[in-house]
Amino acid sequence: MKKSLQAASGKWHAAIPRLLIGLALLAFVGYFIVYLIYAANLFQFPFDYDQGEGFELMDTALFSLGEWPYRNNDVYPFYSSNYPPLFHVITVPLVWLFGPKYWTGRLVSFLGTLVTAAAIAYAVKKDTKRRRGAERRGEKKGRGRWWLSALTGLGFLASNYVYHVGPLFRQHMFMVMFETLAVVLLAQVVAREEASGRDNNKGLLVVMFLLLLAGYTKQLAYATVAAVFIFLFLRQPKRAVMWAVPFAAVTGLIFLWINAATDGMWLLNTVTANINPFIPGQAIGLFRQWFTLHTVIIIAAALFAVYQLYFERLSVYTIWFVAAVLNSVTAGKWGAGESYFATAIAASLILTGLAFNRLLDWSQNRGANWQFAMLTIIPLLWLVQADKLFHMPTHTPALAAIANALGQPTEVWIAPQTSCSAPRPPERIPYVDSAGVSLLGRPPSRADTKAGIAITELVAQGETAAFSEDAGFNFYLGRDIVTNPTQLLNLYNNNAVDLTKMLTMLDEQAFDTVVLRAQFYPPEVLNMIGQRYETTNLVQMNGFVYCVMTPRGSKSIIEPPGG
């Protein structure tokens, strides 16, 4: 009787953890499928989905012609970029082959997130193998807890923030990819060096190269650069300085070269134009949201960081996590947002994987009951984390049924964003997100594509390029890309742009159409548009009401497409 009870109990001990691990994997694979659905929809959408995508496409188009995108904003077409070049340069071959299409950069960014997720999973898997290898020296190598590695990697793609931004034509996630690769490689290089007692300078050189790539993808990578050098300084102070000097020199020389090649426009547009006001409420709100959505991995990572601080050596992942969280404060800058937490999310996932590995190793030495407890609690924690991250488009009956079965709402009601037109009543949106009301995340629909084409048809009735807040309409028609509104506003706020020529052209009604979405232009420009142009059509796309305007006093009131 006792034996049969023990056998039954043994079966449960094996079955319950397996079931919970299976459910956790199912949840995160589900998020991955949702990510694929969103990405596939975005790749087919030929206009701006997120503000600024079209300008990154413009940067890529300029690089594909061998031109710099760091230009004088004072003269027509009043365009410049405020981002470093690497992401756009990498996308250039796709533009050469397929033309300036939005899917090119969206695909590159999306692939970057997959590489980041794989690097996170690899970091956790290597740690398992190394620890098991150390414990069982002389025995066969440990297989690693593949399910834990898989959950940490998939956890990155399941983050609401990564989901929202990953498949956009934005360079941010590509920077996170280089940062993650640099830090994961550094951890391997240092572990190998300490195990063999020999310096691996070639490995460290690759780490430095990856950091350089991260920095020249987006400036925000400086926090990861700082984390890497702090870590090196803690382990080998002299060597850290020996590497920091040439790294700074190479970074500086590239900076000076680009600045000289662009007659100082690089410095103006990537540094001066990024000095934006800090909005404390925005930073606090985003920190709260980040913590609410990623509670489990943040707490696990923070506890493990504290454990390392007092009871063992600080790993590069811990220092990276602290640096990334501190740097996330910059999400409070005007124009910044949730994507600024992506590096902290990557670091917290690796630390969470390492912490859970430790707990599982520890429980193995404590007997079957402890092991059972840990193998039950850890997948349960992943399930709690999965629940907190909930986001799902519900535009198909199958997806709506899944959301319903999970006890989630199948739709939300959101009023379209209006800035240049009267408010509109809330509309049904087939997308649910625990991050709250979000304009990112809902897959663009056929109606959105039709709306974009309708705006291009209105622009096409004029002969000039549109003075437009989105680049997509001019791209679609093969016309000039005129202005980068947020860049102009940033420069205007820093007294670094002369708007005279632009105001003169608007005053002379040199543009046949003006297209506004969020009125990001400097106040003087908006004022002149208001005086010289009038709204003739309102078109709703992606939850925004676009105002299509034509010159006041002209008799050519634009007919709606098909009307």
């Binding site: 102070p237 404390p280 601080l309 007092y310 600080l314």
Partner: protein, 64 residues
């Protein structure tokens, strides 16, 4: 670097931050009379850094 040295580094960093925060007032950069809300937050952070530094001192010569 040892835990003790790391602790000293944190203490120096915290003290430096506090001095810098009051230095801002001396330069007239703050817009609030006395200690502003951002300064209060930063002072709390600097105090926390000093406390972490102090708590690391007993960890002695263990590698950081």
């Amino acid at each position: 670097m040892t835990k003790k040295q790391l602790g000293h580094s944190f203490i120096f960093l915290g003290i430096f931050l506090i001095l810098a925060l009051f230095g801002i007032d001396l330069l007239g950069a703050g817009k609030f009379q006395g200690i502003g809300p951002a300064q209060k937050l930063a002072l709390t952070g600097a105090g926390a850094i000093i406390l972490v530094g102090l708590s690391l001192l007993p960890r002695g010569d263990r590698p950081a």
